[in-house]
Amino acid sequence: MRDVAVVQARSVGFFAALAPRGKAVFFALAAVAICLLFAFPVFWLILTSLRPGTGVYYVHRGTEFTVDNFHEVLSQDIVLRALLNSFMISTLATVLSLGVTATSGYMLSRFKGPIPNAWFSLMYIFRCVPYVAWVLPLYFVTQQLSIFDTYWGLLLPHIAVHICFFSWIMKGFFDGIDPSMEYAAMIDGCSRWGAFWRVALPSAIPGLTALAILCWLYTWNEFLFALILTAHETPILTVVMAQFVHELGMEWHLMSATAVIALVPALIVTLFGQRYVIRGLRI
């Protein structure tokens, strides 16, 4: 209500006299333009996925539509396995990353002194190291540990990626929670772990939910690590999608169909989590 009042109070200037409701029209146009800008590539992806293989080169002219691409993609064994693998990896990576970084962020938030300071600086510096500097040697490391091309071989590096950034964000969540409840719990006989587990962690759940959604989406859509750290045993959806346009010829229609299928879980997660994400992103 307050904002509406402001708009009316302002609309007595020269501009408003020149074009009544001009501001509202301009605002609506800007909103439509923004929607178009962000929706167009996705719209085009969906359109391409509905075109027959021969028609993709004339997406903007053709009128034939078909769902055969989806049938064809879903009948391929590798796509189904990749769907399952991507889902498992994203879910496990989310659970494990949050588990590992919740404690680390709690430590950064509740303690002062040389150890937390050193840990924080370490997090900050390792966050900056470019991926190329460690993803290539990581290939050798996972082979040495004989976990290359397995779930663990992709999961653990993913957790390592998230540790620095998430610890920082988690610190912010715990900073926003009053520690006096934990002190009270400890006076009543709770151990330090008990105070963390039973008092601090439950209060941080809104933030954790937001981070979980972002982490899941990020892992679901991640490409570089999946490309380098997996092969035939553990196909990952983003790599399989990209290969439709690289190695197996330029099959734009199949790539698009797979991408649209991959979009569905992401869409569900985002739409259900939208509220939490926006609330939890306060840094």
């Binding site: 509406v4 680390s104 490391v141």
Partner: protein, 291 residues
């Protein structure tokens, strides 16, 4: 070791173990390789000291193309997505019919895999079959071969990055706007401050801590961009759009000189860590990140 210290260490042990094994060890492995001769005709991997570093730093490609591209990309990408993100956040902070619809559309780029977005945008800018050229022709302009010239290819990459990251800026800034106290705005309204002055002297200063954190995080990420550049142009035409991640990758895998690629990666890492430490000092002035 007292009980408190032990608790602190217990809290960070799992994270520290994963970090050590899957980040520190690989980085050291790469750094070790960068001091050796890792070409195919030297199976002994002779220690060559700083020779690889000297070679990379003397390489005209690295100095005159890769570094300007990397920094140019970082500045342009952060500036564009910050401005656009701020505008969208200000817009979404108002109440208007259809707001949830706009907000849902804004979330779309967060759901699409960056590599798919990059493939799709490359497809849209294809010089023969792309929709962008079809539209240009429809409007009576000559079609442009977007990806065969340096600056247009750079522009397409930048556009993709801005498309991918503006929503992120918009959402974080929106969350920041919504958590601002309302009293200063009421005071400004009572004093009949104009919308611009309210924005300039109240919104912007109060939003600055959030903006600075966003800029630092995004600047570091933009510096190490790999996948969208690789998918859209592959560093081409003729290595003209290479950023430093691509340079390290190309040296390692296309010229099969892992040592030189690692040296380039280490140089990049040193540059960005120094840059990040400078940013950190700025950051600390606005928000106390390490209380």
């Amino acid at each position: 070791m007292n009980e408190k210290t032990r608790f602190m260490l217990e809290l960070i042990t799992p994270a520290a173990l994963v970090l050590l094994l899957f980040q520190v060890v690989p980085i050291l492995t790469g750094a070790n390789a960068s001091f050796r001769d890792w070409t195919l005709h030297d199976p002994k991997r002779t220690w060559v000291g700083l020779a690889n570093y000297v070679h990379v730093l003397r390489d005209a490609e690295f100095r005159d193309v890769v570094l300007p591209n990397t920094f140019g990309f970082m500045v342009a990408s952060v500036a564009c997505s910050l401005l656009l993100g701020l505008l969208i956040a200000l817009m979404l902070n108002k109440r208007f019919p259809g707001r949830w619809l706009v907000q849902s559309f804004i979330l779309l780029p967060l759901m699409v895999a960056p590599v798919i977005a990059a493939i799709m945008i490359r497809w849209m800018f294809n010089d023969q079959f792309g929709v962008v050229n079809a539209v240009l022709e429809g409007l009576g302009f000559a079609p442009v071969s977007w990806l065969t010239q340096r600056w247009t290819a750079f522009g397409v990459i930048l556009l993709t990055d801005v498309w991918l990251w503006t929503p992120w800026f918009a959402l974080i800034l929106l969350a920041g706007l919504q958590s601002l106290p309302s009293e200063p705005f009421e005071a400004a309204r009572i004093d009949a401050a104009s919308a611009w002055r309210t924005f300039r002297y109240i919104t912007l200063p109060m939003l600055r801590p959030v903006m600075v954190v966003c800029i630092v995080i995004r600047a570091i990420d933009a510096f190490r961009t790999f996948d969208i550049v690789w998918t859209i142009s592959g560093g081409g035409p003729a290595r003209a759009t290479e950023v430093f991640s691509i340079y390290a990758y190309v040296e390692s895998f296309q010229f099969l000189n892992l040592a030189r690629g690692s040296a380039a990666a280490v140089i990049g890492a040193i540059i960005i860590v120094i840059f990040a430490l400078l940013l950190y000092r700025i950051l600390n002035r606005f928000v106390e990140v390490s209380k």
